[in-house]
Symmetry: C2
């Protein structure tokens, strides 16, 4: 059984309108109500005319999800906007979780529209660091025990995954990024390239390539994504590149 309302959870991509898919724009156009962090509404100017816009402050994720389900339960068509991909540390799972905790008898339809995730956006700006197996780890221990995060960092580092770090540092969390560097340096050469991107596809964009040995000195914040190369990753002409192995397989190993 379901109400006639629905919630579309939409990934806007990293920021620039040119990285937002037509599917995401259309989902916003078709909604009656748009809910999201207030900072994101500037990204979708021109798409929200005549709609009810509920712009909430940062850190009110649960309230956004609750409002979305409440309005959808009343039969309305709701769009929840999220930066990057709504499914990757985004709003999508929270809406499903809250729906699961609520009244199953008036469950609205819930759909997710994918977006360009921060990790893909940052990788493109760096070159091609994600061309082989990679692991994505958030360093935020607000909702996850730090021991679990350490265990994942260690496992990913030892198994030679390319490692993408989300939420490396915030005003409240100032030591996790340094500790992550120590763990990674335990099983990866100090010369391994590390890409650090802040504000990808937004004003103030910064893209730099450093190394595992030096990465802890780089300024990082909640809008930074860090990509640590694997044992094969190289820097070349300003780009960070993880080989897939084609040239080595062809007997031409000169660029590895």
């Amino acid at each position: 059984m379901s109400s006639s309302g629905r919630v579309m959870i939409v990934g806007l991509g990293p920021g620039a309108r040119e990285t937002m898919t037509p599917q995401a724009c259309e989902a916003i156009r078709q909604a009656e109500i748009v809910i999201g962090y207030s900072g994101y509404f500037a990204w979708i100017e021109g798409l929200t005319a005549g709609k009810e816009c509920l712009a909430l402050p940062l850190a009110q994720e649960t309230e956004r999800a609750r409002l979305a389900l409440e309005h959808a339960g009343a039969g309305r068509s709701v769009c929840v906007i999220s930066s990057g991909d709504a499914g990757v540390y985004g709003m999508a799972s929270l809406v499903f979780e809250l729906a699961a905790a609520g009244d199953k008898a008036c469950l609205p339809e819930i759909m997710v529209v994918p977006g360009i995730s921060a990790v893909n956006a940052c990788a493109a700006l760096l070159g091609a660091p994600l061309a082989h197996d990679f692991a994505v780890v958030s360093l935020s221990d607000l909702l996850t025990p730090w021991e679990k995060i350490e265990r994942r960092l260690m496992a990913a580092a030892e198994a030679d995954f390319v490692i993408a770090l989300f939420n490396p540092q915030s005003q409240r969390r100032d030591w996790q990024f340094h500790r992550a560097q120590e763990i990674i340096a335990g099983s990866r050469s100090a010369e391994t390239p590390v890409g650090i991107v802040t504000n990808a596809y937004r004003p103030g964009q910064s893209v730099r390539i450093t190394t595992v040995g030096e990465m802890a000195r780089a300024p990082v914040d909640m809008l930074t994504t860090v990509i640590v190369g694997n044992s094969q990753t190289r820097e070349f002409a300003g780009a960070m590149v993880t080989p897939r192995g084609y040239l080595a397989a062809a007997g031409n190993g000169e660029c590895r």
Copy 2:
């Protein structure tokens, strides 16, 4: 020093035009030459009028990269198209690698335009399985030793990562997916939800949710992405959802 030519490596997204970004379309429009697997040109109909289109068969990745650099080296503007995100097991790293192996004196500009990766597209169709730390592993051992793939699977399974499997099976590789299941089952409950998506956002799309215990029976191929949940992932109303922890943190654990 660089030639005046350039190569744009463009991720088209999973397939449907509505999942292709304006940035990707614009990169194609601005190119003089478009190079790619022949099957992808139908996706970009209307964008290639008046351009030289080099449509190559599958498995000629190195030749596509070589042609792109050759034309860019001669001062032309080239676009290499790739499905999903061009940086994730795509064409991007190969173009950089080949450029690194070639003549540094006439290096063209090389840029990457990100796209919706298969893993994000499939996750959106399943619900929200990627809402916490995840690892992406390709099961293709054509260019990577199987021992290395096993090591990564084991590490990701033991550290409780959500695990996305690319290239689970092909006509030549028929046992790797079963072996991956054995490894994952070694440290994850048989009831853990597993999402299996084939032809995401393409004709013939198939989305199913099974379990770690049953996953090896599912038909998979090169157009399938498999997403294995972590210890917290649940199935709810037909969706596969990995909680972020908000509700547990609020003392409301009923949906975990």
